[in-house]
Amino acid sequence: MKKKTFLITGLLVTLLLAGVVSNFASGSPDGLDHAAREGCTFNADDEITGGTCMAQQEQDHQLAGSPLADYGVKGIDNEFLSTGLSGVAGVLLTFAIGGGLFWLLRRREPSRKA
């Protein structure tokens, strides 16, 4: 497989994971959030009703109102579309920033001529 083909295939697989498969991800708290909730009791709306836990001290994110906050696109009500589009945006943004940074940092091959 040519390197260019490899990169394009890899990027397409990545877009598929973030754009489609992401909708089937588990909504349960992750390992750290689980530990943060330990010691508290929660009601049906997931609000803390008692006890002591780390989650009580949790403060809102400074950018909670940003257009892609919490992996959704603000203004798109269809959840599948909203999650998928935010995933695609994230992949392209990460590829552009990461790839751009690494391209700038790379070692320039000395000219082979002469």
Binding site: T14, L15, P29, L32, C53, M54, A69, G90, F102
Partner: protein, 224 residues
């Protein structure tokens, strides 16, 4: 495993922003040696892939999920210095654009996931690739074991940070036990996905796998 604002106090969070910045500066300095025309686009793809897989939470216990941190995958495919920068890039994009992982906590998160987790994973990769069989099975086993250890080390980073600046009065032993238990399971899930990813790349384009270039340079094939 993204720490939200408020869980660790301000002074400790600030100290870890300095630690993370210093660590990343060393990574940038060392990454320049590794990065060439071949590695740079591959590293961009690895960062994008890590962003994608971090969205995919997988149930590991009733009511508990986990997602890949991606450190092991990154160090095997693009090496330790560039790999750490890949994970850090993802964490910065998540914190600045997706409101995932507090801005105040960014130093804590980078230290745990981009620096500690990847460093532990890389040390194991460097050891295991030398002693395990030089087969795709050996590479897969390396990815699996390094993932479990890398994820648990990253989780223990949080425990240390909580011990230094936790804002609640809770038993440190209990937190350490919960974190170690759930993250061992998350590490196994990460390991299985990391192993299948690196084995796939190794089969298609073994020359694009940094760890194989570094530790299994030119395997000698004896004709039958």
């Amino acid at each position: 495993m993204h720490i939200a604002n408020g869980i660790i106090n301000g002074p400790v969070s600030a100290i870890f922003i300095a630690i993370a910045a210093a660590g990343l500066a060393v990574c940038v300095w060392r990454a320049k040696v590794d990065l060439d025309d071949r590695l740079a686009p591959m590293a961009g793809l690895v960062a994008a892939f890590i962003f994608a897989v971090q969205m995919l939470n997988i149930q590991v216990l009733p009511g508990v999920s986990g997602h890949l941190l991606g450190g092991t995958l990154a160090v095997i495919l693009v090496g330790p210095w560039v790999g750490a920068l890949c994970v850090a890039t993802v964490l910065l994009v998540q914190a600045l654009v997706f409101a995932d992982g507090g801005l105040t906590a960014i130093g804590l998160n980078i230290t745990n996931m981009a620096l500690l987790g990847t460093a532990a994973a890389y040390l194991l990769v460097a050891l295991l690739l030398r002693i395990l069989p030089r087969t795709t099975g050996g590479l897969g086993a390396t990815a699996l074991i390094a993932s479990v250890v890398g994820v648990v080390v990253a989780a223990m980073g949080f425990v240390v940070e909580y011990a230094l600046g936790g804002t609640t009065e809770l038993s440190l032993g209990a937190i350490a036990a919960t974190m170690a238990g759930t993250h061992t399971l998350i590490g196994v899930v990460e390991g299985l996905i990391a192993a299948s990813t690196v084995v796939t790349v190794a089969k298609v384009r073994p020359d694009l796998v940094y760890a194989l270039r570094a530790f299994r340079a030119q395997p000698i094939k004896v004709p039958a």
